[in-house]
């Protein structure tokens, strides 16, 4: 079977490789379809810091104008700021030009509705139907709108953050904070934000020029410079954002990368201690969350993978949710807005440190320790489903099964989660256990078992 490797159209939007599949023409068609879907109105157009951002953005503007929308260009802007602005303003939606954590050759579009949320599964389906039908509501010349430019798009988001957190308390601590923005969109707001929180910032890769100094995903193997800097400069904490600034990973005062799972764990512990309420996370998020929730005697609600699924569940809880998010460093605090937001995560961690008077490594010791292994096995969606049926038959009475997204089996001391990838021809295998050894053993065991069950190799 031949597969397109450079263009992905999925629930998270469109992604492609510039100079290959992501052409001006394709981009304009998606913008036209989006404008047709929303109806004529104001649409915010933001971008991350990628070098191809302007080429793609100009195509978006052209497409939106042709269907009678009024684009407001906001330039390079963190995704959470775009989402916040969209909800606050009279815009009927927004397009973010970003390929999130994909390498620099990539770019893409994310589609945001008037609530500032990414299109959900059903909205995305409706929108893609319009794209595929190819009939866009082109308007006559006299109905064209004039594009506008907004110079300070992060302002509403920034103000909300400062009004939410205990700024005076954080300021007193004068934290020394090392931060790596990966030369991404976060760089346009980070210096101002840390300054407002009275921190002494040490900026690494904080030029929003899209020249990613390392792979733009906040994984331990990508942040050696940050870890070293934290130690050398004696910083209280190190932060790393992904390229569009929705995810955050933490480096301890000892220069140790805590792993992206730890961001939501620490944030949840702090939020629940102040404001106990249900926690919404996806299926693959660490069970440390369950342990913490148990301490406060509150439920954890698990959803399918994908930010919008977590967000939809938070919204369904109608304001009761205290915190939500994903194990990949995406923290969602409904009190600010129901979006993954690295600035919210930073604020929570700094406030936690300030309130508790403890160092980040001390705080880390207070939460349950788990080890997670993420692996991948080659295979198509079809093969993945066949495999999951077989595993289900075998394990139905040996652990607690969840079928809402792939197959998750919770055993006494560990869990495994198997699901087909939405974007690649692979099956993802995630294992979490109390110790590194057990996690590795279980991962190996299931990989072997999968190999035996699947006869496609």
């Amino acid at each position: 079977m031949k597969t397109a490797t450079s263009l992905k159209i999925s629930i998270s939007g469109v992604r492609g490789i510039v100079g290959d599949s992501l052409t001006p023409q394709l981009t304009a068609s998606f913008a036209q379809a989006f404008g047709t879907y929303l109806g004529r109105g104001v649409v915010i157009v933001g971008q991350d810091s990628r070098k191809s951002g302007t080429m793609v953005k100009k195509a978006v503007l052209s497409g939106l104008l042709s269907v009678g929308c009024q684009p407001i260009e906001i330039g390079i802007c963190p995704i959470p700021s775009i989402q916040f602005l969209t909800k606050q303003s009279k815009a009927i939606g927004a397009i973010a030009v970003t390929a999130s954590h994909n390498p620099k050759e990539w770019n893409g579009l994310k589609f945001i509705n008037e609530e500032g949320l990414f299109l959900n599964y059903h909205q995305m389906e409706e929108f893609l139907d319009i794209y595929h039908q190819g009939e866009f509501s082109l308007v006559e010349a006299h109905k064209y709108k004039n594009p506008k430019f907004e110079k300070n798009p992060s302002r509403p988001h920034f103000k909300k953050l400062l009004s939410y957190f205990n700024v005076d308390l954080i300021r007193q601590k004068k934290f020394k904070v090392a931060i790596d923005c990966c030369n991404g969109a976060g760089a346009v707001l980070v210096p101002q934000y840390l300054d407002a929180l009275g921190c002494q910032p040490i900026l690494i890769n904080c030029v929003p020029d899209g020249l990613f100094a390392h792979h733009p995903e906040p994984l331990p193997e990508n942040i050696a410079t940050l870890c070293r800097t934290v130690v050398e400069e004696g910083a209280d904490v190190g932060f790393v954002q992904d390229a569009d600034a929705d995810r955050l990973a933490i480096v301890s005062d000892k220069g140790e990368p805590l792993g992206e799972e730890m961001t939501l764990i620490l944030a949840s512990k702090y939020v629940l201690s102040k404001n106990p309420g249900p926690v919404v996370v996806n299926l693959s998020t660490s069970q440390a969350i369950d342990d913490i929730a148990r301490e406060f005697n509150i439920p954890v609600i698990r959803t399918k993978i994908g930010e919008i699924n977590v967000v939809e569940q938070i919204l369904a809880q109608q304001g009761k949710t205290a915190i939500g998010g994903e194990g990949n460093g995406g923290v969602i605090l409904p009190g600010i807005h129901p979006c993954r937001d690295s600035f919210t995560a930073m604020g929570l961690i700094l406030e936690y440190m300030a309130t508790s008077g403890k160092t980040i490594s001390e705080l880390q010791k207070e939460v349950p320790k788990y080890y997670m292994i993420k692996d991948r096995i080659e295979g198509t969606q079809e093969q993945a489903y066949r495999l999951m049926r077989q595993l289900k038959k075998k394990y139905w009475n040996k652990g607690e099964l969840s079928l809402i997204d792939g197959l998750k089996i919770q055993f006494d001391n560990y869990w495994i989660h198997i699901r087909p990838s939405n974007t690649e021809q692979i099956i993802r295998l995630i294992v979490e256990a109390k110790s590194q050894e057990v996690a590795e053993k279980i991962a190996k065991q299931f990989k072997k078992e999968i190999g035996e069950l699947s006869k496609w190799k």
Binding site: G19, K51, M55, L65, A141
Partner: protein
Amino acid sequence: MKLLKIGISGVRGIVGETITPQLVMNFACAFGTYINSKPVLMGRDTRISGPMLHSACISALTSTGCDVIDLGICPTPILQYMVKKLRAKGAISITAGHNDIKWNALIFINQEGTYLNTFQGEEVLDIYHLGKFAKASTDKLGRISSANNYSDVYFKNLSKFLDVQTIKKADLKVIIDPCNGAGAKSIDALSQHLNFELVSVNNEPNGFFPHDPEPRPRNAQQVASIIKVIKADVGFILNSDVSRVSLVAENGETLSEEYALPLIASHYLKKTPGAIITNFSTSKMIEDVAQYNNCTIIKTKVGQSHSIQTLIHEDAVMAGEGSGGIAIPEFQPTFDGFLTIGLILEIIAKRKKKISQLIKELPKYHIVKEKIYCPPTKVHSVVNGVKKLYPNQEINDSDGIRVDLDNGWVHIRASVTEPMIRIIAEDKSKEGAQESAEKVINFISSLLK
């Protein structure tokens, strides 16, 4: 029928119908592929659809690896002038010139600052039809920059070309209507550099056209109604990209757009004799002026692309069309409305005569311009069929059919923008011109029955 005209000099159509982001991008990608990773200038007139085409062009050009120097709202003659000054390899002007607001177009400019010639245009069209465009990877995408004070460079050089001292001494009061097009605000700079007092109407570059942006008497009413009251010496009507101009006399008379060319030629050929390029639809006045100055006339098909190509090929001293576009290669080989205004002011200043008197010195003809609907599939056979009407006359069929009659001529050709046949007739008497045109219209009607 959907209106779209693809030609060697560019593509023109109705916005929202044939002019879509994808069509514009495909043409800009073809042009960028042709230019091959070199810098390209971008400019546009003020049409409200302009930003859509402008964004589409910039996205497409940079995607092929061409750097873009963006001049924003810019009259085409200034854009063309800047191509050489900024050492660009080409330019795209987004303007539909004299067409109404429904239309927009891309005009391709080569590295000499002129419309593409036939060979260049065909190469771009081949790339367009083939659909294989250059695709730059992220690191090789074109970059976007803008140029500052570029109109200053243009106007300084224009002033050097003209006799600014004489214009200044004449203390002229001039009224100009740029129709809120690309000429808006630029005319302020023109008045400062050429030292005349400017009274402007519709001088906001907002794309709201108070009348059709075609320089001809029926669109000159605003200027004509106030010119006597404010005691201005002359009035000018511009099209949306300042490539064409028509005149209003100091006495309030709206002058035919045909006058600018012979008026300037009668002045310019005296000091710079040489061949003149014009088309088959232009008033015989220019032929008389040329003959009087012992200069030859060469006729081409209608359109700037054709006349400039011939101008360069024949080493002519001037090219112009009766519709008000005039090029003088000694300054630059492009239709240039600012130059046209400057030369006419120079004539008024030097001759110390009123514009109405200068016009009276020109040979007297009457021209009528008519058009008749014809289904697009029949246009060429109908135009050709009109030949039967003139069994005994010599017929030139280089551009439609042109027949010289005893006291004038008649020209029948297909419109380049609409499913129409244009009939232009000129005669020494008004009645004669009308009669010639009616004869053709009646004949065409009978052919269409």
